[in-house]
Structures are given as C-alpha cells and as structure tokens.
Amino acid sequence: MTCLHLLLTLGFAVSLGTPVEIQRPRGVPLTKKQFYEENKPFTCLDGSRTIPFDRVNDDYCDCKDGSDEPGTAACPNGSFHCTNAGYRPMFIPSSRINDGICDCCDTTDEYNSGAKCENTCKELGRKEREVLHKMAEITKEGFLLKRQLIEEAKKGHQEKQSKVTDMQENKKQLDEKVEALRTVKETAEQPEKEAKERHLKAWEEQKAAIRLEKDKAKMAEAFLELDDDADGFVSVSELQSHAELDPDADGTLTEIEAQGLLGGAEQVDTSTFESVWPKIKDKYHSESQPEEPAPVETPPDEVKEPVVDNDSEPYPEDDISEEEDEDDEDEDDYHEDDDKAPPTVKTPEKSDEDDEAMPPYDADTQALIDAAQKARDDFEEAEKALREMDDQIRNIEKELSFDFGPDAEFTYLYNQCYELTTSEYIYRLCPFNRVSQKPKFGGSETNLGTWGSWSGPENNKYLLMKYEHGTGCWQGPNRSTTVKLTCGKETVVTSTSEPSRCEYLMEFTTPAVCQEPSNADLSPHDHEEL
C-alpha cells in the first residue's frame, strides 16, 4: 500500500497470447526503453538529476519532468504508456493510473486500484478496423463521386463561361439595337410633340372664345334680371335687391354701396353695365337658379386616444392581453378613419366649358402619335431585353465568383437545398445561400444565417461553412450556423444542434470533401506495438 517500489511489467503481462513484450519499467514506451537500464543509476530525461534505479517507479516523484515515475501517479506532469496490443498504443496522464477508471484497453493502467477492467483491445481493434474499412469504402466511393463532381463542375464552369461570353456578345448587339431604337424613338417623338402642342394651343384659343361668349350671355341675362322695371337701366334700388353683392359682407347692400358698385351712377345702361359686371359677377346669384346649399360639414370623429395604462403591469398574461388590446385599438382607429372619413371638400362646380373635352386629334397628328408610340414600345422592349440579359450575366458571374473549392467540387450544391426534419423543426440548408428553421407544426420560418464564408482550419478551410446574421436573439447575438462537412456518398444533412443559444451546428455529408484514399489508409491495422 505505502510503497509500490519498483514495478516491472513482465513479458507475458496480463493479456493472453499477445506477442512477447520486452521487459521495461511499467509505463515506459518501447522508444524510451534505452533510458531505463536496470540497476544503473537513472538520469531524469530532462537531465536535471540522477537517482538510483530503485527510485524509478517507487511512487515518489524525484524528477521535475516526471520521468522517474512512468508507471505511477506520483508525478503531476508524468505520462503513462499503454501498449494496447491489438489496438493503438497510447499515452495517458499519470493521474489516470490506478484511479479506478479503465483507460487503457489492455487494463495496464489499473494494476493496483481494485478496478475490474477487461482487456478490450482486440474488440476495439476489430471495431476500429471495421470503421476504418467502412470509412475507406466511403472515402473511395465518395472520392470517385467527387471526381465526377469536379468534372461536372469543370464542364459547367466552361459552359457558363462560354455562355457568359456568348451573352456578352449578344449584349453588345442588344446595346446597339437599343441605341438605334432610341434614335428612332427620339426622331419620332419630335414631330409628335410639335403636332400635339399645336393641337393644344388651338384648343385653348377656342376655349377662351367660348368662355367670353358665355360671360356676355350671362351679363345680358343678369342685366335683364336686375332691370326689374325693364326700363333699360339697372338702378341702385334694383341692384339692392341682390343682397349677396354686399361688398363689406355685413348682410345689407346699402344704397351707397350699390351706388359704388354702379361706379357712382344712379343707374346704368347695358353698355355701362359691362364695366359693372366684372365687379359683381363672382357674387351674383341668378334669380332663376336655386341657391347652392352649403355642403354639410360632418366633423370627423374625434380620434380616440388609445387608453394608455401607465401602471406598468409586470405579469405576463396581463401584459399580453393589454398589448394586444392596444394594438387592436390602434388598428380600429385606423379603419374608422378610413370608413368615417369626412366628405372631402367638394371642388367647386365645374364650369360648363370645362366639361367639354378636347376634340380628338386630327388624323395627321394621330398618325404622328401612333408612329412615336410604336418607336417607344420597340425601344422599351429592347431595353428590357438588355436588362434581363444583364441580370443573367450578373447571376452567372456571381455564381462563377463563389469559392466552390479548390477544384470547384462544391459547385453542385449551388441553388440546391437540403432538409432535415427533427422532432420539432424542419431545418433547411441551402448552401452558399442560407440556413433556416421552420417549426414542424406550423409557425413562421426563422433565418439561422446567410452565407458568410468558409471557416475551416487553416489546412483545410473547406471543412466548415459559416452562415451569419440570421434573425436576432433576445439579449443575444444574431443567429448563426456552422456547417461541418464530412465525407459521404450522399449529400445529406445528418444532424443539427444548438450547442450555444442561437449558435447552430449542422453536420452535412458530401462527396465533395472526400480525400483521395491513400493505399496505406486502406489497411489500417498494423500500428500494433510488439
């Protein structure tokens, strides 16, 4: 118990039928056997001191580097070597010697702890070989697929390149065409514009003449109406019967006021009335026409102030309903405004002459317009075609600009999406585009990130994809997803997880990351140490 003294692993050791082991102190790897010569003073491997050989593995740490205790837990920085015949040899920290936990499959780490360990090296070796074999198979087939992918990508790339070249050629032609059509259009539009202006001007003149006529007729009519005694004069008193003409709007048209309107005269004849008429025509109400009723102003409903509860409620369910209520109210108000909007202020009666539409263009003008319209249509069509062409070129160029791997082996993932359904969600990975998550049983989609960059380790950045700037998280970052790529025959999302809140991890197999199998890797079982 207290002193474990010198312990040598013996050749036949614990396991049955394993090849002969060379005698050396416990925990020493074969490569270092030479430093541990029995019965000769031992020098710490760092050279710091020399101790008698019986202090090697005596369960007391003498060397700073821990080299005197390869087979005990005495040194904090020591390590123990297990041979693990049938499997892979390994080093474990000294602290795992006799700690009651079986670490070495050959059980050699637990020689004095009472832990019941079984030698599992053969089993592990077999399993590992199986796994490696399977992996090798997958890698092999995957790599073949990858080569195809590379081929296809190459072809696709060339096709796209030449397509772009073609398109750029076409685009040039289109450019020219557009320019030509622009000239045609502009040429056609000049005469069109002039003809239209001529037509409009004629129409304006005609309208002015008509308006003058009408005013004269109205004046004559008014004169007749005002001239109550039909004596051919409109007198002050006759004018006073039209109270609406009151210039100071005090409700009565006084004699003086009326006289003022008549230019100081007691009465005016038709020709003098011509100078009075402009002063009164705007106010004048024809006696034959009923007075226009003033529009009834319905005041808009007072906008209801939403009732704001200042007492902030700390309790979830209350608050929720309150919030919702407020929202509802707001919306209601909005609709009410729409429905009950006050009648828009009526525009004054259109005068008769405005009702009359402009007469149609004459045939010559119309012909010019038609010709110009056609030139415009042609031009726009060509321009649209050019824009579309531009878009296409840009899209292809964008695609060509992506880093699809050293041999463009990831090209095939572009424009594709892969889904994985878990118990709660459907996850969707659209490589080089975005990752999203949608609840399986209804609910809106959440963006888990859009394409950011390759972010694998320096020696192979194509093992990880990073998607960033997804939907924001409460008190947290925007969602992001790391996609880990492993070699596989199929292209599938194999798992998703959220190791940290709003930071997702997706595992994805694709042949595109399969490495060329080396022959050595295909027979991976001769690392056994003698």
Partner: protein
C-alpha cells in the same frame, strides 16, 4: 438559475429587453410596505410600555411579566429565559391575542436548555436578575419599560431603550362585516384546532377570561386607535393583499454601546459591514426572486437569516430575531450617552462620547422571539448560534470539488461531450448539472423523452468516471392532470391554498403551477418519498438535487412571490414566507437520505434559505452577472452567510447573466476555487463557456485554479467536518481570528479559510498587483506558491500576473494536501498526503487531518473516521490521535512533508508507533528555507514522530 423573465411568453421578452438591471418598481420599498411605513413613522422617544412588576412570575427557568401599553391598555406577556451557553431569550406576545400568533417551528434544533434565573434586587421600578458569569445582570426597568444586559460596569445591550417596542395587537375589524366574518371563520378554525392540542386546563382558561374582562373594564378611558391605511388591505401594483387579520406587526429596538461594526442579516448584495440605514431603506429580509439584482443595496434577495452579529475589540455578540415574516432592519449610529438613563445609571458609567450602534427590527406578523448571544468571542457566538439552529451539514467530499453547470446541458450527448471535454483538457470535475430543460415540460422528477431518453445510461456513464450529476427539482408543480406528481399532491390536498380555500396557482416555468405546502410535515414526508429510486424514474445514486425558485418564485404574484393571504393550513403565507425555502430543501435532503436508507450523506443546493438552512446543504448567491462588481461582492455575500451559520456558500463562477471576458472568467475561477461552493453556471442565452473555450492559455489558467482546489480538498473537508461539529464558519472574515485588530473590521476583499489560509483573490480588471493585509503582530505568513515568508501586521503589495492567486499560509499551521490531482475527487480517495508545515516565529506549528469514507454517515453513526492532531515543536513533528474511540482504516499515506521557515537539519528520523526508526532523506532550499522530507511512507492513520537534528 433563473428569474421571472424568460422566453415563456413573448411579452416577457419585451419587459426583459428594457430591464438592464433590476426593475426596482417590482419590489416594495419600506414606504410601500404598509406595516414598515407605519412602524418607521414611530420615532425614538419614551416608550408607552410599562412593565407590571406585580405580575412577575419566576420559575427556575423562566420569568414572565406583563407589559401594558399605556396608550391602548393592551397587555403583552414578556417571557425571559437564561439559556445555557451565555444566551438570553426574550419573548413578547400579546397576553391574550384574539387568536394565536405564529411562532416559528422547526428552526431551533431542540428546546434550548435553560439555566436558573435569580432575582438580585428589586424596587418599585426595576428588577435586577443575575445571568451568572462575571457579574452579568439583566435589568428590567418598569416605566418606561426597557431591558439592559450589563456586565460589571458595562452595558452590553439595551432593549427598547429608544422606545420603539411596538406590538400591533390583533383586533376585530370595525366597519365591514364581510372581512369580520372571514376572520371569525379563521378564528373558529383556530378554536377547534386549539381544543385538540391545547394542554391548558379549564381553570387556566377561566383565569385568562377574567384577565380579559378586567382589561375591558379599563377600556372606558381608552382612546380607540384609529385605523391607518393599509391595516386591513393593501395593494401593490395590481395585487391586493386582503389582510383578514388586520395589523399584526411588531418591532423592537436594540442598542449596542461601544459597537461600531455590525454584520450578518443576509442575504443582501452589500458590504460585509452593515451600513447605516438612516435616510435609506432598512435592510429587508423577504425571500424574493430578484431578476438581475443590483449591488450595494439593502433590497431583499433570495434568502433571509435574521441574525445580526456585533463586534468590537471588547466583545462579539449576536441577535437572533426568530421571525419568518417580512422583516426590515434599521441600523443607525448613536452615542451611548443618549440612550442611558434611569436605573441602569446606578450600575454603569457611560461616556457620552462612546460610539453606539442602534438596531431596530420590524416584522409583519408573529411574535417577538429574540435570542441574545453574549459571546464574548466570535467563536463563542458561533457556538451559541449553532446550539440553537444546528451546524453546517457535512457534505460528501465530492460536493466540495468543482461543479460544472449551465442552463442547460441540452441532451445526453451534450453531457457526454462536456464530460469528455474535461478529460481531453485534463481538468478535474465532480459534478455536471442539469437545469430545468432536462425535465419533460418542466415536470420535475421526469426526463425529457427526446433529449434524455436514457438517463440511467447517462448516469452510469458518469459513474464509470466516478463523477456525479445534479438535476433540478423546483417546488412549483405543473398543473396538468397527466402529471403524477401534480395529481398526487392535489388528491392528498397538499397544495398551498388561496385565500378563498382553493388550490393556490401561479405562473412559473411550466406555466400554471401549484405550490406544495412544505410547512406541512405530511407533505414533506410525501415529497421525500418521491426521491426513492423506484419513484423517481431514471434516477441513480450518483444523482443529487438542486432546489431553485423556492422563495417561492411566482412570476405573476406580488413582488414575484406568493400572495401573503395564501394559506398554509391555518397560517397565512405572511407568517411563514421566509421559512418556505428551508422546508423545501429539508424535505429534499430528507428524501436523498431516505433513498439510501440513511446511509449516504445528501447534497442539495438551495437558492432560498432561512436560519437553520445550514443543516440541509449548500446555498448559492443566485442569479448574479458576469461583471467585476459581482465577482467582488461574492466575497462579502458568502462571508455574511458564514457568520450566521451557512458555510457552504458560493456564487456562480463566471456570472449567470451576460458573457464574461476571458479575463473575468479566469479571475472568477481563481476566486471560486477558494470559496466553499465552487460551481460555474451560465444563463441559457449566453455563449458556451466550458473552461476550454477561451484559448489554450486561459484553459491552462483555469485548469491550474481548479487543480489548486482539488489539492486543497483535504483541508476543505477537515474544515467542513469542524464546522459540522462546532459551528465555526469555514470562510471567515479576518476579524473573526483577529478580533482586536481594528484594521480588519471592514475588510472584505480578503478572508480566511479556516484560520490558516488567507486568500486575497484578484477581482479587478487588468490588475497588476493587489495589496493584501497580513494580520497578526509577531505572526508570519508564507506565500503558498512561492513559499516566500512575510511578516504579519502589514499591508503587502503583491504584483500579480494572470496566473496569480494570492494565498498565504499562516505561520504556525500545518495543512494537508493531496498533490496528485486526478479527474475527480473520488479518484483521489486513497492518494497520499503532503503535509505543509508553516512554522511560526517560535518555530512551531499545528494542524489537523480528518479522513473518512467521504460520503456516508458512518463517521457519525459508527465513528468510522480518522482525526489526527499534527504538531511541530522543538524540531519534532508528530501525529497523534484526536479521537481514540474512532476507527477507520485508510489506504492513504504520507508522501512528503514540506516545512517552511526552518533551518537545515543534519538528519531526519522517522519513529513509528512500533518503535522502529528509519532515516528520511531530505532536501533543503536555503534561499527560501524550505525543507522537504522525502517519502515518510507512514499510513495517514498511524502514530508517528519525526525528529530533526
């Protein structure tokens, strides 16, 4: 883990977004708490209370006396007890309450043993009693009523010296008939309850009846007390408190002449030394789930221990105010002369300039029941308090090791990966924790079937690594007819009731939840039974429990807790509130003991606590944040808890809310490694922060901090054994060991572990040095990392790097370590010890070594342990048995002995118990005067002596 806001409902998110720190408006100020406001409006002055000395009754163990309030003629009954161990108990209740008032059960471990009280002298206005000891006297002054405890010519403490005794008697409501009916219903329930249990004889009851009549006779001249707002109902925000019993609060003041430093009354995120509360709110004791609590604030937090410790160079004393209702404590400074008058001036001489601290306690209901612990030394106060409420439970060793927690480890795979991560990075840990997401829909005692489909497989995987797991079990039970736990509690009628008699329901993690009535012993027994392996499916012996949210937290309740008019049997929640969390942890710990048929020591962590909670497990400081200020405050918060019995305390390493910088995380690990409960924890919305996620340099720093913890586990374990036996705190303020050194009285940036290790963690960002105060004239301290020797009684500037954790071992001490750190504490159980002998300036040292099986009750029940005294003097180191009647065999041995501060010997001889002798090899480092004895190899349980020549 968590506070009231979470992803439960989208709106809560909105609320939280705006809440960067605590939303103070969710919690009452004294002004908003009707009784606190009423009481605080009373100011110091002449007390209306008069002691009726002619009603004195004195038996061997008890003195009773009636007090009368001259304003309303209501009589109170004063009971005085002299308790064994230099304590006095003062109880004041109504002489004849309308119905019984709540007296806190289950906190005292037993009826305290009384000692004889005798009358020394008496006159018409005073009574002097002997408290034994050195001239200790208790003086009762009749008018105005006050109590003074004096020792010789010194007043130690005065009660009601400022006239703030105020006892709101129960009364019938005058106006509304409805509430009267309710209270009379409860009253009649009481009558029947009482008649079942009352031991009073008929005649006694008759006498009481007479008293009441007599009192009524006097009523003629009494001016009726006016009702004040908030006496019969109170609203806070949208919550109404129906208060069917009306006003019932109590208050009493204590004056401490000569005292300038008072401590205790946790839990507050505040300094160790309590602050003067004039002009601010009093310290509040009301267990609450406070979301993102603020520092340096007297607001209530998750737990409450109504114990205040006073200290001066003359004496250390304690006041234990045994009341579980909402309580406020005012602290103010005074000069002693102002409160000394009357009879006591015959006894004492007072300088009017002498400092004094006045303390006033206010509680909402219950009775006045105070234990005055008279010290005189800090250790005496701890012993006295432990004799009342018990000592710290002795945790299994692994619970003192490192705990890895996060809200949440997502699934079994995650648990496995984290477990492997520790091994890959060669970092030890003992416990991995599962927060609320592990349960199926927050139904505790169950497992989420998709994330944890095979819990036993997971637990077995951990067991194979000699590690353990903690799963959370909260006291809010999802109301769900498909949930066995809920159905059973409902059918057994074990839920807390609302004021109308239905099951009380509130919102918590699972949504609508019921709250089991843990004050009911039958309920607790049933709860405990649910931890049996055949009840709690998927549980195994390496699974332990964590009780969170046991304030109780009720998201939609007033102040995020239960309505005060909810009912626990006949008592209102108002009466029992601060006790609820203690009962939850007690029932859970009982369950863990029972599932192992009494063999295994339990480990249960709780967030809410009360006086006595130390008996049931560990406490942590709740939902802190990843900020330097929170790292700093963890020290005074745990020191305050240690002073009032709760030694097993820790803060979430790294900070619960927010994302710590690598520097803060490393510093927190370094500090946490030297605090009793050492657990990293993180909020679900924070990025992952397992120790290896901050780059190899930081991983190495964290590994080293955790390894230092593991190496020191024997010392921690021995201190917890000691705490369990004696009630002495594990983590101590400096003044506890250096009570005469005034410079230590406010120190809270460093502390002692036991009495032999002084820790000054680095808690400042970018720190390049710390100034540590090394106490003790004629003492020496040794830096445990560099072995450098420093003199005591000095402030020492210590330059620090990121790897520095300033820790010093006291000269004169021997500390045992296990320097072979392995991946869990269980893996180290048989490993050898290294003894670190730090010599005093006189060349001597002492220490202890305690060993047992590290996890069962055999140490207690079968005396299966090793307890040894190690001492070094006159160049001889020896190990001697401290418990000859105990027996335990250990495989551990003594690997190495390192002696600091000695000189080079020419030989070292080991003498075994059987008389055999052998020479030991040694090395001596003359620059640091460190002597290392190579491999004594003796068994740790053996007697041996080593002589240096």
């Amino acid at each position: 883990m968590a506070a009231s806001c979470e992803s439960l409902l989208p709106l809560v998110l909105l609320l939280c977004l705006s809440a960067q720190a605590v939303d103070r408006s969710n919690f009452k100020t004294c002004e908003q708490s009707a009784f606190c406001k009423r009481q605080r409006e009373l100011t110091a002055g002449r007390s209306p209370y008069r002691a009726l000395l002619d009603t004195l009754e004195l038996s061997d163990s008890r003195l009773t006396l009636q007090l009368i309030n001259d304003n309303n003629k209501v009589r109170l009954l004063l009971e005085l007890y002299r308790l064994q161990g230099n304590m006095t108990r003062v109880k004041i209740n109504e002489l004849k309450p309308l119905k019984p008032r709540y007296e806190v059960p289950d906190v005292l471990i037993s009826d305290p043993i009384t000692e004889k009280l005798s009358v020394v002298s008496q006159d018409e206005n005073s009574l002097v009693l002997s408290l034994g000891g050195k001239d200790q006297r208790l003086i009762i002054s009749a008018q105005p009523f006050r109590l003074d405890i004096v020792e010789g010519p010194q007043v130690l403490m005065s009660l009601n010296s400022r006239g703030l005794l105020a006892f709101e008697h129960l009364r019938a409501r005058k106006d509304t008939s409805i509430s009267h009916k309710i209270s009379s219903t409860v009253g009649s329930m009481w009558d029947s309850f009482k008649s079942m249990f009352s031991s009073k004889s008929e005649s006694e009851q008759e006498t009481e009846q007479e008293n009441v009549e007599q009192q009524t006779d006097e009523d003629g001249q009494i001016k009726e007390e006016e009702d004040k707002p908030g006496m019969w109902e109170e609203t806070f925000k949208s919550h109404a408190d129906s208060k069917p019993n009306g006003p019932s609060s109590i208050s009493l003041d204590f004056s401490l002449p000569g005292v300038e430093h008072v401590y205790g009354i946790p839990e507050h995120a505040d300094t160790l030394k309590l602050k003067n509360t004039d002009g601010s709110d009093p310290y509040r004791l009301y267990n609450l789930d406070v979301f993102q609590y603020e520092l340096h604030n007297p607001m209530a937090l998750y737990g409450a221990v109504p114990v205040l410790i006073s200290h001066s160079t003359d004496r250390t004393m304690g006041i234990f105010w045994l009341n579980a209702a909402e309580t406020w404590v005012d602290i103010s400074s005074n000069t002693a002369g102002k409160t000394m008058f009357g009879k006591i001036l015959d006894f004492v001489q007072v300088s009017s300039e002498a400092p004094q601290t006045d303390v006033r306690w206010i509680s909402e209901s219950g009775i006045i029941d105070v234990f005055i612990m008279l010290g005189p030394k800090p250790a005496d106060v701890f012993t006295q308090y432990a004799s009342l409420t018990g000592t710290q439970s002795f945790p299994p060793l692994s619970a003192l090791a490192y705990h890895q927690c996060r809200w949440n480890y997502n699934d079994q795979e995650d648990v496995k990966t984290v477990d492997q991560g520790f091994d890959e990075h060669d970092i030890p840990y003992d416990f991995i924790w599962l927060d609320i997401e592990h349960a199926d829909g927050k139904r505790y005692f169950t497992w989420d079937p998709s994330k944890f489909p095979q819990p036993k497989e997971m637990l077995q995987g951990l067991m194979d690594k000699r590690r353990k797991l903690v799963a959370i079990v909260d006291p809010h039970i999802r109301v769900d007819s498909g949930y066995k736990i809920h159905n059973e509690i409902r059918s057994k009628n074990f839920y807390v009731k609302n004021k109308d008699g239905g099951d009380y329901e509130g919102w918590c993690w699972p949504g609508n939840a019921g709250y089991p009535d843990f004050t009911n012993p039958e309920m607790r027994a049933w709860w405990a039974s649910q931890f049996a392996y055949d009840q709690y499916e998927g549980s195994m012996e390496n699974q332990y429990i964590w009780n969170d949210m046991n304030e109780p937290s009720v998201f939609n309740g007033p102040e995020v807790t239960m309505h005060k008019d909810a009912l626990h049997g006949v008592w209102e929640h108002r009466d029992v509130h601060n006790l609820y969390g203690l009962y939850v942890q007690k029932a859970t710990a009982d369950g863990l003991i029972q599932r192992s048929e009494g063999v295994q020591r339990p480990f249960v962590l709780t967030r809410a606590f009360f006086a006595g909670s130390q008996r049931y497990g560990a406490v942590w400081t709740g939902d802190n944040a990843a900020e330097w200020g929170h790292l700093k405050i963890s020290i005074p918060m745990c020191l305050s808890l240690g002073l009032v019995g709760i030694s097993f305390c820790g803060a979430d390493v790294g900070g619960f809310f927010k994302h710590p910088s690598a520097e803060l995380l490393v510093r927190w690990y370094q500090a946490g490694a030297y605090q009793p409960f050492f657990r990293a924890h993180a909020h679900i919305d924070t990025p992952r922060r397992e120790p290896w996620l901050f780059g190899p340099d930081n991983t190495a720093l964290i590994r080293e901090a955790i390894r230092q913890r593991y190496a020191l586990l024997p010392y921690w374990y021995q201190l917890f054994y000691n705490a369990n036996r004696t009630g002495q705190p594990v983590m101590r303020p400096l003044w506890v060991e250096y009570p005469d050194d005034v410079t230590t009285f406010s120190t809270e940036d460093e502390y002692l572990i036991g009495k032999d290790l002084l820790v000054h963690p680095v808690t400042d960002e970018g720190a390049t040095g710390v100034t540590a105060y090394l106490p003790g004239k004629d003492e020496v301290w040794y830096d445990v990392h560099t072995f450098q020797k420093h003199d005591g009684d000095q402030s020492l500037y210590i330059p620090v790097t990121m790897s520095s954790i300033p820790v010093f071992q006291r000269g004169g001490s021997i500390i045992c370590r296990k320097d072979r750190v392995r991946r869990s504490s269980s893996c180290m159980e048989n490993d050898p010890y290294t003894l670190y002998v730090a010599l005093s300036s006189q060349g001597s040292a002492e220490g202890e070594l305690y060993i047992d099986d590290f996890h069962t009750f055999s140490f207690e029940e079968a005396k299966q342990f090793v307890h040894r005294r190690l001492s070094f003097s006159a160049n001889t180191l020896s190990s001697r048995n401290l418990a000859p009647d105990s027996q335990f065999s250990t495989a551990s041995w003594i690997e190495r002995i390192v002696i600091f501060g000695g000189s080079q010997p020419s030989s070292a001889t080991l003498k075994n118990a059987d008389g055999t002798e052998s020479a030991l090899e040694f090395e001596f480092d003359s620059t640091l005067a460190v002597l290392t004895l190579r491999k004594p190899g003796v068994n740790a349980a053996a007697d041996w002596t080593i002589v240096l020549r």
